[in-house]
Amino acid sequence: MVPAGLLLVTFLFGLFHFIPGDPALLLAGDNASAEVVEGIRRAYGFDQPLPVQYWTYMKKVLQGDLGVSNFSREPVTALILPRIFNTAQLAFWSMGFAMVVSLILGCCSAMFWNTWIDKLITGIALLGICTPVFVSGLFGIFLFSVKLGLLPTGGLDSWRSFVLPVVTLGAFQAAVLTRMVRASMVEALGQDYIETARAKGLAETAVVFKHALRNAMLPIVTLFGLGFGATLGGSVVTETIFTWPGLGRTMVESILSRDLPVTQGALLLFAFMFIGINLVVDLLYAAIDPRIRFDAP
């Protein structure tokens, strides 16, 4: 995790140095004199050789200093920290919703494999996968907010603000996960140890939810982690649709206004959240499957 983090910071540093445009010129504005631009360049250290700049940047990042916003002059950390919380909350509830729905539907599908129940669930899941969030989101806003007036169109005021974004985001992930849960459960239910479990006299619910599900969880957790990451990444779109005060929207706004320190900080945090999720997924693997736990060197 630590090497991945260092690599990431380096990559971001490089990325922002190779994008075209002079940062000092950008900060100074179009009408600034040459002396002012030069002053800014020196003040921000843009005149230093690249390795020195890299070292300074790295030191600051490690100390939790992500720089200052070009416009509001606020520290980037203070600007984005509350936003992360909103984004994480949205991702958490959406993925929770997706997990519950997909486990129920996927297990049902596998238990009634090849019957009309299975076909109905698979059909709905396919429809869900084919519908992008910006379509279902806008449709949801149109129906529940504009026509019926039941839910707010956007913003974050109360629990009611959560309903539309959580369901839209969650439904998409649920659709993806349901298919995986189904496939994984169908495979697990075909294993020899399932027959052993039935031969022991266990009830079918115990066979399915204890013996099969635990074995089916590995691929499900993998996809769940990917889904969580995708939900974070997708927050750029979702938060724009639902005017959600999160990290995704902050990033879009900072890009549009060329507020580079904020963009850089936001990207860095997104990336670290991805790494964090991957770590959690790896830990979950070990918790689920003893073969992974014991084979580790």
Partner: protein, 337 residues
């Protein structure tokens, strides 16, 4: 009372037919077989892959899942004073679930895949003990350790917390046996329990099963394709071919005087220690026909050296050719021969 009991069959299968329905047609995996097993006795079931041995076992356990179905026949199970018709019970119902694992237990062929990889063997054994005997956690664990001890697993106190992948094949099969016997079942169905093990371990496991049978007074249905194994454990043997019983006899009679050409073929294809070295082993010509397209008449006739016109036309019945020795072959029918 117990004297009268031991004479009555524990399980009596009559004209059992289990078919599998698919788009290719109906596969008659088990097609009208009858047999009985008494307490403390072992019935060996022998035959090639696809002869219906395993389907027979799973039919008794009522573990046949769609597209398979028990078409007809009865499976009478003697439970104390009453006789239960297993074939008529709901396979997911309470009565069968109470019987499975507690009164009729099963050991499977592949110890590698028949134990759940994500639970310790202790968890898997205590699960069945707690389910059927209503034992608490500690009591179930003590009992599981006793069972592991009974199947001769060294240091059971430690092994009980091992996962299946930490044990060798032989140890896993012992754990399976411990699990199957943990509720002292009256009938144990062993579906090729030694096939996946190497020969020395095979012998140990068979000796173990015989000892435990004596201790727990269980009846065993022992399924195998290995005649050598059957000679070592069975009291009575039934030979199956394409869903039917071709021969059924006490183990000595069968080995001394195999009457069905198929059984004779199986016997001669066992390598002998004092046979000539360069001599090729005799084989039964041809392959097992598809269960979707069974031969007319005697099902063995396309592969039988003695097949006559009659064999192609009419299926032989399973008749008593000698005392307790049943065979389904026209050659053995005194009225026709």
């Amino acid at each position: 009372m117990s004297v009268a009991h031991s004479d009555e069959p524990l399980i009596e299968v009559e004209d059992l037919r289990t078919y599998f329905h698919s788009e290719a047609g109906i596969a008659k995996a088990v097609d009208g077989i009858s047999f009985a097993v008494r307490r403390k006795k072992t019935l060996g079931v022998v035959g090639e892959s696809g002869c219906g041995k395993s389907v027979t076992a799973r039919s008794i356990m009522r573990l046949i899942r769609p597209p398979g179905k028990i078409e007809s026949g009865s499976i009478r199970y003697r439970r104390g004073e009453e006789t239960l018709e297993l074939a008529g019970l709901d396979p997911k119902g309470r009565t069968l679930r109470e019987i499975r694992g507690a009164e009729i237990a099963m050991i499977f062929q592949e110890p590698m895949t028949s134990l759940n990889p994500v639970f310790t063997i202790g968890e898997q054994i205590t699960e069945v003990i707690r389910l059927h005997l209503g034992a608490g956690r500690g009591e179930a664990r003590r009992r599981a350790i006793d069972m592991l001890n009974a199947v001769a697993i060294p240091s059971p106190h430690q092994r009980i917390d091992d996962y299946p992948h930490q044990l060798s094949g032989g140890m896993r099969q012992r754990a399976m046996i411990a699990m199957a016997l943990s509720c002292h079942p009256s009938l144990l169905i062993a579906d090729e329990p030694t096939t996946a093990l190497d020969v020395t371990i095979q012998a140990q496991v068979i000796r173990l099963m015989r000892d435990l049978q004596r201790e727990f007074e269980a009846a065993i249905i022992f399924i195998t394709h290995d005649l050598g194994v059957v000679a070592g454990i069975a009291d009575e043997v039934m030979v199956m071919y394409l869903g039917e019983i071709v021969e059924r006899a006490p183990v000595r009679d069968l080995f001394r005087d195999p009457k069905h050409p198929y059984t004779q073929g199986l016997m001669t294809s066992i390598p002998s220690l004092n046979g000539a070295r360069k001599q090729r082993l005799p084989v039964i010509e041809g392959n097992v026909p598809s269960p979707f397209d069974l031969p007319r008449g005697c099902r063995f006739h396309p592969r039988c050296a003695h097949a006559s016109e009659l064999c192609r036309e009419r299926a032989p019945l399973l008749l008593e050719a000698a005392p307790e020795h049943h065979v389904a072959c026209h050659l053995q029918d005194p009225e026709l021969a």
